[in-house]
Symmetry: D2
C-alpha cells in the first residue's frame, strides 16, 4: 500500500494538465498547482502517506461533512425538514433550484444546504460557541488538538462572499433560516477555513469509513446507520454536478472542497484524503480525482 500511495504521487507529478486554482477566494488563488498529497488511514489506525501530505490547506466544502454529522447529532432527523437529500443537477452555488422548491435546498452539500446545516447548529449555540463546537468536533475526530482555523482565509471569504450572502438571505426570505444571516455566515466562512493536512483529514474522516467509530474497537462518534447514510449522501451529492462522473470513475463515497481537497471513504477498509489545488470545470480537484481513481483501482477498493 505504501507503494500504491507513492506511485500515485509519482504519476500525479507527471500530469501536465493541472486544472485551475480557485480564483474567487483571493487567498486560495495563491496556492501552487503543482502541490499534490495523499494520506490513507486504515482500520488499525495506521496512516500511509506520500507527497505534500503534511502541508496544510483549508478544507473548504469538505467541512460540510463534519457539520452535517454534528447537526444530525444535535437536531436529529428534523434536519431533513429543512434540506433534501437529492443530487442537485446544478452548480454548487446555484440559487435557481431554491426558487423552484420553495427555499428547501436539494442536499446538505450544495452551499445553500450547508448554510441550513450550520444555521441549525447555531440554534443551540451562540455563534462563537458554535464555531468552537465545530472545531472541537473535528479535533476529536482527528485526535489532533493542533487543528486550527485559518483566519486570513475566513476573512477573505467574509469580504468577497456575495453569492453566499445572497443564498442566506434567500433562504431567510422563505423562512428557512433561524439565526441572523451575519451570524450563520460568520460561522460558515470559518468552518470552510478549517486548516488541515491530508494526514489530519484522513484521520478525521475515519468515523465515516468504520461505521461511526474512529477505528476498529473505538468508541462511536455517530451511530453505525448514520455513518452509512452520510456516506450515501457523499456518493450521490459529494462532488456537486460532477458526482455521477466521480462515482462512475472512482467508485467510492467522497466529498470535495474548492481548495482541491477530497475526503474519500472505503467502507470498513480505509479513509483517504487527497489534495491538489487545481480544479476541473465542476470545481473538484482535477489531479486529486485522478489520484483517487488510480489508487482505488490499484487496490480494488471500488464499492461496486
Amino acid at each position: 500500500m505504501e507503494l500504491a500511495a507513492a506511485r500515485t504521487i509519482e504519476r500525479a507529478a507527471e500530469l501536465q494538465e493541472r486544472g485551475n486554482v480557485a480564483s474567487y477566494i483571493p487567498e486560495l488563488a495563491k496556492v501552487d498547482p503543482q502541490k499534490a498529497g495523499i494520506a490513507i488511514t486504515l482500520a488499525n489506525g495506521a496512516t500511509i502517506s506520500a507527497g505534500d501530505c503534511d502541508e496544510q490547506s483549508t478544507i473548504q466544502s469538505v467541512s460540510k461533512v463534519f457539520t452535517l454529522a454534528l447537526a444530525l447529532g444535535t437536531v436529529g432527523d428534523r434536519l431533513w425538514n429543512r434540506v433534501g437529500r437529492e443530487p442537485s443537477g446544478s452548480a454548487f452555488d446555484s440559487i435557481l433550484q431554491l426558487e423552484h422548491e420553495n427555499g428547501i435546498p436539494r442536499n446538505p452539500f450544495v452551499n445553500a444546504g450547508a448554510l441550513v446545516v450550520t444555521d441549525s447548529i447555531l440554534s443551540n449555540y451562540q455563534p462563537k460557541e458554535a464555531l468552537a463546537e465545530i472545531l472541537s468536533f473535528v479535533r476529536a475526530l482527528a485526535d489532533d488538538e493542533t487543528i486550527h482555523i485559518d483566519k486570513a482565509v475566513a476573512q477573505s471569504e467574509t469580504e468577497t462572499g456575495h453569492r453566499n450572502r445572497a443564498l442566506a438571505h434567500y433562504l431567510a426570505s422563505y423562512g428557512n433560516f433561524n439565526n441572523q444571516v451575519d451570524h450563520t455566515l460568520g460561522v460558515y466562512f470559518h468552518q470552510c477555513a478549517l486548516s488541515m493536512s491530508c494526514v489530519q483529514l484522513s484521520r478525521a474522516g475515519r468515523f465515516l469509513a468504520f461505521g461511526g467509530a474512529i477505528g476498529a474497537g473505538e468508541a462511536r462518534i455517530v451511530s453505525h446507520r448514520r455513518a452509512k447514510r452520510i456516506a450515501a449522501i457523499m456518493i450521490t451529492c459529494g462532488h456537486y454536478d460532477g458526482s455521477g462522473d466521480f462515482a462512475y470513475r472512482v467508485g467510492v463515497p467522497a466529498k470535495s472542497g474548492v481548495s482541491g481537497m477530497i475526503l474519500a471513504v472505503v467502507p470498513n477498509v480505509a479513509s483517504i484524503a487527497v489534495w491538489s489545488p487545481g480544479l476541473n470545470k465542476n470545481g473538484n480537484s482535477l489531479i486529486g480525482t485522478q489520484m483517487l481513481e488510480q489508487v482505488i483501482r490499484e487496490l480494488d477498493w471500488s464499492i461496486f
Copy 2:
C-alpha cells in the same frame, strides 16, 4: 435468508399505504396494488423468493440497464459523447434539461438518455433485429428462453406515448438521433414491455452483482470494470429524482421501473428483484422500496 425474504413479504402485505399504480399506460393501470414479490439470487446461483415472485410484469425502465450494457458492448465509450452520467435533478420524462444542455441527456436512465441508448443499438441493426438482439441478450442473462415481450403493453405505449415522441423529436432537432424517430421509439416501447417475474429479473441482474459474470466461475457478459461502472450509474441515477433518497435509505445500486419493479445489486453478494405496482411521488415502487430497505438492513448488505 429464506426467512428474511418471507418476513419482508409478510410485512409488505401489512402496509396500508400502497402508492398509486401508474395510470398513463392503460395496461399498467389495471394491476392490483396488493401484489408484492421478491427474489434474491446468490453467487452460487440459488434463488430465494417469496410472495408474487413468479408473477409476470413488464419491467419498463429496468430495461434501461440491459440496453445500456448492450449499447456499451456495441459502440463502447463513444456512447458517452451522446449522453452524460450525472443525476438529473428533475423528473424522468423532463424535457427541460435538454434545452439547457444542447440535446445531451443527463444520463442513460432518464427517458431521453434511454432513447439515445436504444438509438445507438439501432445504428448497428435493423429495428426488428435490434429488438431481437435485446430480447436474446436478456434471455441469455437470465438463462431463460421463455422471457418474452408483452405486445399489448407495447401497443398501449405506442398509442399514448406523446411525451416520449416529443423527447425523440427534440433529440433529433439537436442532431442527437441517428435513426428514424418511429423506428427507435418502436424498439424502445417494446423493450419497456419485456415481461418478467421477480425470479427471472433477479437472475437477469446477476452480471451486475458478480463483476460482469452471471455467477461465480461463469463466463463474463461484460468486463469487471464495466459492471461496476453501470452499478455506479444505478446508485446516482437509478431512481430518477428519488435516487439520493434511495441511496440514503436502502444503500445499494438499483434501477426502478414504472410498473413497480426494482432491480438491486449487492456487489459480490446477490442480485435482488422486487415488485409491487403502487408508486411513490417520484415514480418508484413504494412498497418495493420498503421491502428492499428492510431486507438490506436485516442482512446488513448496505454497500456503505
Copy 3:
C-alpha cells in the same frame, strides 16, 4: 412619404452588417441578404413602396397573426383557455416553459402557441379545408387572389421540423392538442409557407391598423376591439425575446418572421411591411428592424 420610403431603402442598402439568413430551413438559406423592401398602406388604400417591395418571400411566423385572427373568429375567447397572452422571456421555439406551465404556451406567437391556434382551427375543418380557409382569409384581407403557398418551402420544413414536431407531441402529452399531430403540423408548415411581397403583406395587415376594417369605410373583418387586442399582443410578444427592445426602439405593434419579413401597424394611420432576410440574434430581421425604426421616427408614428 414616398420620400421617406425611398430614403429608408437607400440607407438600408448602405448598411454593412446584414445579419444571418435563417439556415435551419434549407429553402430560406438560399436567399440573398442584400434584398430589402418596404411597403406602406394608408387609410385611403394607397400603397407607397420601395426597394424589393414586389419580390415574394414566405411570411413564416407573420402568418401567426392571421391564424390568430381566424381562430378567434372561429372559437372565440375560449382560445385563451389553451394559450396565454404573456411574453415568454425565452426563444421562439423553447419547450422549457411548457414544462413549467403544464402545456399551456405563453402566447400565440411562440411556436407552441401558434400550433395550438392552428390546432383550434382544425377542430372545425378537415386539414385541407383548414388550409384553404387560411389561404382564402389572407387573400380576402389583401384583396389579392394571386397569393399562394410555396410548396417547396412547406415541404422543406416538413422534412426538417423536428423541433416543431417535439412541441406538438409535447402539447399532446398535456392534452392540449385536439387533432392528429401530423395533420396540424401539415397545416402549420403550409401557413408558414404563404408567399407574399411587402406590398401584399402591407395590404393584408390593414385590418389591424384600421380597427378591424381593411380601410376607412370598409367592412369589418374583426371587431374594433379584437383588432386592438391583437395589436396589443403584437407589441408585447411579436418579436419573441426581442419584443421589449423592438417596442423601445421602434414603438409600434409588429410581428416578425424568420424569413426576414415584419408586419407593423400604426393604429388609424398605416400598415407597413418590410423585408430583408438577414436576422439578428433573436431571429428578427436586422435590416427590417432598422428600416422600421427609421421610417417610424421620420414620420413621428410611434404610438407612445
Copy 4:
C-alpha cells in the same frame, strides 16, 4: 370625463372580489381593501378625480419609473449595459433569470433591475443625497413640495426585505453592483416608501404622457424620445408577469406597485393614477386594473 371618473369609482365600489392586500410588508397589510381612487391629469393641467383620490399610499414599484428617468438623465444609455429591456416571463422578485443571464436583470421594472437603476444613481451621490435627489425629482414632476417618504413603511421593508437583500448580493456577486449593498438597499426601500395620493401621482406622471414635458408648453424634464421609450418599457414590462394581459385588456403603458397603485399614460392625452390595495395573482391591483380598463374603454383611449 368627470362623469367617466365618477362612474368608474361607483362601479369599483360594487365589485365583490377585491384581491388580497400585500402581506409581506406589515405596514401594507393594514390597509382597507375597500379603498379605491382615481385621478386623471390632462394636457391643460386640469386634474379630474374621484373616490379616495386624495388619500396617501406608498407608491412602491411605481417609483421605478421615476428612478429610471433620473438614472437615464444621470448615466445615459450606459445604463443599458447593466440592465436589459425585455419582459421577464417570471415573478417580480425572481432571482432565477439572473443565474441564466450572468447577473444582468431583464428590465428596470423587476426588482433586480430597479436595484441596478438605484445603484447607478448612487454612483453619483452619497446615499442621503441620492434619496434627496429622488424626492426632489418627484416633487418637481408633481409640482408639489409636500410629497414625502413614509418612514414607517421604509423601516418595515428594511427589516423584512430578505428577498431584495438576496437579489442585491447576487448582483454584487456578478460584479453588477457599484455601491455597498446596504447603501443601495437603504435608498431603494425609501424610494418605494414615497407617499402620494392618486392626484399627486397623476401629476407626477405627466412628463411621460406629454413627450417629456409636464404639460403642453411646459419645459421638458426628459427628451421627447426618452419619454416615449420609457412608456414603451412600461407597456412590455410594467405589470411583471401580467404585462401582456394588461396590454391586452387595458391597452396603455402603465406601471403598477404592490401597494395597489398604478400609473398609466395615454400619450398626448392624459396621465392617470388609480389606487386600490387588493392585488391579483401577479401582484397588480385587481380593482385598479378594472378601473383603468373601464375608463380607457369608455373614453376610447387605447393606444392600439
